[in-house]
Structure formats: C-alpha cells, structure tokens
C-alpha cells in the first residue's frame, strides 16, 4: 500500500524549464519527509503538484489515499498547506484570518470561531489575536500561516520552506511547534534548503536537484556520506602545521586534510563543542598559535558536493557566482590533501 504521500514520475515543464523531471516520493503515514534542495530544484513545484495547485504534465500522485488528479477536491479536504510565503491577509486580524479559513473548509461559523481561538492559543498568538496581521513580525506571520494550515487538523501537511527568512530564535520556536504537531501523528512533507533543519525535523530526507530526487535516506545516512562534523583550524605559522596535524589527528576520527596556502586544516570529528574546547586547550598547551578555529556541520553544500561532486547550483546569478568561487577554493583544498 502506498504511503500517505505518494508520487511517481511527476513531470512539469514551464516553457523550456523542466521544473520536475520525474519525481518519485513515498512518505509512510505518520512520518516526516524533508525535501532538501537548493533554490530552483523543484521543491515548490512538487508541493504545488501534490496540493492540487498545479497539474503535472505526467505522473501519478496519491495523497491521503486519494488520487490527486482524479479527485482534487477530496484532497483539499484532507491536506493543510503552508506555502513558501506566509499567505495571510494582512488587513485581517489573526483571529479573522483563521475564522475565514475555517469557514472555507466548510466549518460552521461558530465552530470556526472556536477553532480559531484554540489555534491562537496553541501558537502563542492570543495577545496579538485581534490586531491586523500587518503588525505581526515575520515569525508571528509564519505561525499564523501554519495555524491556518492546521484549522481542520488535516492528516497530511505540506510546508514549503517554513523557516526561510526567520531569525534563529524564531526558527527554533517554529521547530518546536512542528515537532509537537508531528508527534500527534500527522504526515508531513517539509521542504528546506538547510540540512540542519531536515536533520532536526525529518525522519527521511530526499535530496532534489534539477527536478529529480538524487538521493534519499535518513539524515545519519546522508551525513555519513558527507563525513559529518569537522573541526577546522587556521594555523598562524606555516612551520607549525605538522604539529597541529598531529593534535587534530589525535582527536579526529579520520584523516586530517591540509590546505597549505591558507594554512587551513580540517578533520572529521564526533563530539561537538566539548571536543572543540579540548582541541583548543591542547593546541594552546603545545604553544601552537591559531588564527581561527571552528566546528563545521555538514550543510546542503556538503551534501551536494559528496553526492554530485559539485556544489548546489543556485540559479540566481549573483549567488551562483559567489558559490562557484567558493567551490573552487574548497576543490583545491581537497586535491592538496591527496
């Protein structure tokens, strides 16, 4: 039996752009799938196809046991969608927004009102409930948008980059809300550009690029392929590099790579911030002066680098240039280590 969200060979083209090039997904009921990919990978298009907003050119999609192409209206009754940009009416108050959505889910006015009150409380918006949403912060708008998607407690939820553009505090808070939600058994498909986010929230991750799923697995499996956490050190004097390598190799769980010209050393580790403190102490004891040190967690770029051998291509020109330059720098580092 297919899962709560199932897609097979979804294709969608916009003119010359092949936004989806055969997407396959299968999300078991009650689990969270993180759809991870750079800008332009096809995440939003996938979500739009699965939520009846777009008709795919080819392929099959089943959501909550209902064929999306055959009975879109039934799908709409069973899903909640929180789009890439918070879709709230800024002139309506938070309460009015939720009441309206409830009524459009065909709830009676009274029931919609009661439900709005519940959600406002659950999303910590009670104080701002009767102010126009225009006065809300980015984080509050996002929460209101999520609340709107949850009005009927749909069994299947879609969230398109729910935390993009939020500051770290708001992101943490939203993660808490999402975790609470899925602990109730909701099936969730979440898109994100951050490996950390997928790691935090999703049981399974599907990596998308150019409209295709290029890898899938748990975050541990993906991280294993990318080498996990690393400590990076920039040594002050070139002569001390061999000593520093000795220290790092002692703490690491793999080989230390060296980038001679920038005096940057990298070693895979397990142990997080505590280990970092020990590394610093040891370097200090040996009198090795450092310019910089840090703990690096694998990012989307690292996943892409290990999966495709190139970095996440961003179709935005300016960004693409920045990342391309960065990629070259790191590419040389790798070669240097061999």
């Amino acid at each position: 039996m297919p899962g709560a969200i199932y897609a097979e060979g979804l294709v969608k083209t916009f003119g010359d752009v092949r936004a989806l090039d055969g997407v396959d997904l299968d999300v078991p009921e009650g689990t969270v799938l993180g759809l991870l990919g750079p800008n332009g990978a096809g995440k939003t298009t996938t979500v739009r196809c699965l939520t009846t907003l777009l008709r795919p050119d080819r392929g099959k999609a089943v959501v909550a046991g209902i064929d999306v192409l055959k009975d879109p209206d039934a799908v709409r009754r069973s899903v909640g969608l929180s789009g890439q940009f918070a879709a709230v009416d800024e002139y309506l108050t938070g309460r009015e927004n939720l009441q309206m959505v409830g009524q459009l889910y065909q709830m009676r006015a009274k029931a919609a009102k009661a439900r709005a009150g519940e959600l406002l409380e659950q999303f910590h918006l009670t104080e701002a409930a009767d102010r126009p949403a225009k006065t809300y912060s980015g984080g509050m708008r996002r929460r209101l948008d999520l609340a709107a998607a949850l009005v009927v407690s749909p069994p299947v939820m879609f969230m398109d980059e729910p935390t993009t553009g939020l500051d770290p505090r708001n992101r943490q808070e939203l993660w808490g809300v999402i975790k609470q939600l899925v602990s109730g058994g909701t099936t969730l498909l979440l898109t994100t550009q951050y490996l950390e986010e997928a790691d935090h929230l999703a049981h399974d991750i599907a990596v998308v690029d150019h409209g295709r799923v290029i890898a899938r697995g748990t975050s541990d499996q993906l991280k294993a392929r990318t080498g996990g956490e690393r400590v990076e050190v920039v040594v002050h004097e070139r002569e001390r590099i061999p000593d520093a390598v000795e220290v790092l190799t002692g703490f690491g769980k793999g080989e230390t790579t060296v980038e001679e010209h920038t005096r940057r050393l990298t070693v895979p580790v397990a142990g997080g911030a505590k280990l970092l403190a020990e590394v610093i102490r040891e370097l200090d004891t040996r009198g090795i002066e450092i310019d910089d040190i840090g703990l690096r967690r694998p990012t989307l770029d690292d996943v892409f680098l290990s999966l495709t051998g190139h970095l996440a291509e961003v179709r935005d020109e300016a960004e693409a240039n920045g990342i391309a330059a960065d990629a070259k720098g790191r590419g040389r580092g790798k070669e240097g280590a061999k």
Partner: protein, 281 residues
Amino acid sequence: MSAVTGAVRVAPPGNPIIRSIRDSLVVAKRNLIRMSRIPEMVIFGVIQPVMFVVLFSYVFGGSMTVGGTTDPAVYREFLMAGIFAQTVTFATAGAGAGIADDMHKGLIDRFRSLPMARGAVLTGRTLADLVQTALTLAVLAVVALLVGWRTHTSIGEVLGAFGLLLLLGYAFTWVGALIGLSVRTPEAATSGGLIWLFPVTFISNAFVDSSRMTPWLRHVADWNPFSATVQASRELFGNPGVSQSDAWPMQHPVWASLIYSVLIIVIFRTLSVRKYRSATA
C-alpha cells in the same frame, strides 16, 4: 488508512449552489473588512467622481449644447447619468488590483488549496466591490442633488436606473477580475483596469450629445454597452438629452443595458473562473 480518514473534520460537500453562495459571502465579508481598514481607498473612490461632477458641470457647462440649448443647468442634469455610469465602471480597477494583490501575496494559492467553491474567491471580491460602488453612488447622488440635479419620474423608475447602473458596475468588476488574474502586479492591474475605460466612457453619450459626433464615432457610441446604461438612466430619471438615434440600443435602452450587462457577466465570469483554476502566482 483509518487514522487518516478518521482525523478529517471536514464535512463532505453539500449542495454545490448553497456552498458556492456561502463561500462567496465569506470571501465578500473578508473583502469588506479589508475595505473598512483601508478607508483612504474608499474615500478617494468617492472624491474622484465628485471632482468630475464639479469640474464638468462648472467648467464645461455653458459651452455644451444639449437638446439645442447651452443652458448650464440643462447640461448638469444631462451630465449626471454619465458621471454615475462612469463611476460604477471605475470599480473595475479596484477589483483587478485586489485580485492581483491576492495572487502576489500567495492568498490565491491558499484559497485554491481549500475545499471551497471554485468561483467563490472572485464572486466574493466582486460582491464586495458592488457594496463599495453602491456607497459611492449614494454619496455622489447627494452631491448631484446639491449642484442642482433633479429626477422627474417615479421613485420606482429612479431606483430602476440605479439598479441598472449597479448591474453595469458589477459586470465591469468581472472584466477587472480577469485583468487582475492576467497581470503580475496590483499596479499593472490598476492601470490595466483604467486605461481602456477612457475610450469606453468617452466614446459614448455620457458627456456629450452623441448625435453631434462624426458618423462612425456616433455609430460606436450608439452601440457602446456603456451608452445603453447611460441612455436608460437618463430616460428613467427623466433627464434631458435622451438620444433620438434609431440604433436599437438607443431605442430600447433598458433592455439593451440589461442584456449587455448580463452578457458581460456571463462571458467574463466564465473566463475568469477558468483562469483562476489554473492561476499560478
């Protein structure tokens, strides 16, 4: 799948017509709340036609010949049906801008992801605009009375004229809806909603006696749907300057006005709803 279906609290769809009306009213209410929170927009919507009344009647009045006289008082009475009709058509821009704004902000996506009646987002918007148009028209009628406009017929006929005017305005908001769904920004919808209104409202009998136009322009003016409503209102108000042209819409303006408006609604509603269903922001 039992857990999945068990969690659904959404009632299965009932009677589609009742559902459509209900959803439209929910959306209309939303748009009316919005309008009440942006009173500037409503106020500008009233000021503009009031300005037209004052400018046309005091600047042009006296140099315009209507029914063989240049008496400014006669022109003023002649003018009002034209200004009323032009005012109701301006709702086109508001509807278009509102819908384009909803597309832009992702609200149309939200609505389209809900199990609501397909045409309700657009119907709700046009109904809210109709309420605003009615308010504007009421204020304008008071201003018109203040500058000397009078009706010379029964209350039923006067109300009939206002009914036809509102119907025309409602029909034009559907044109606006289609424009709003077809452009990328609210700004484009505003100008796109207004530009074509100038030829439509000026190549008509609204502000001048169309019998004095060159023959081909007169022809266009006589068959212009907008002219039919102006002619019908003038006749129903008992105001001077009713066109004597033998073009069918000028001879049967009430019927012509009704038919034109209903046709516009049917055509543009169909096109708009179709466009809405495939709308991508």
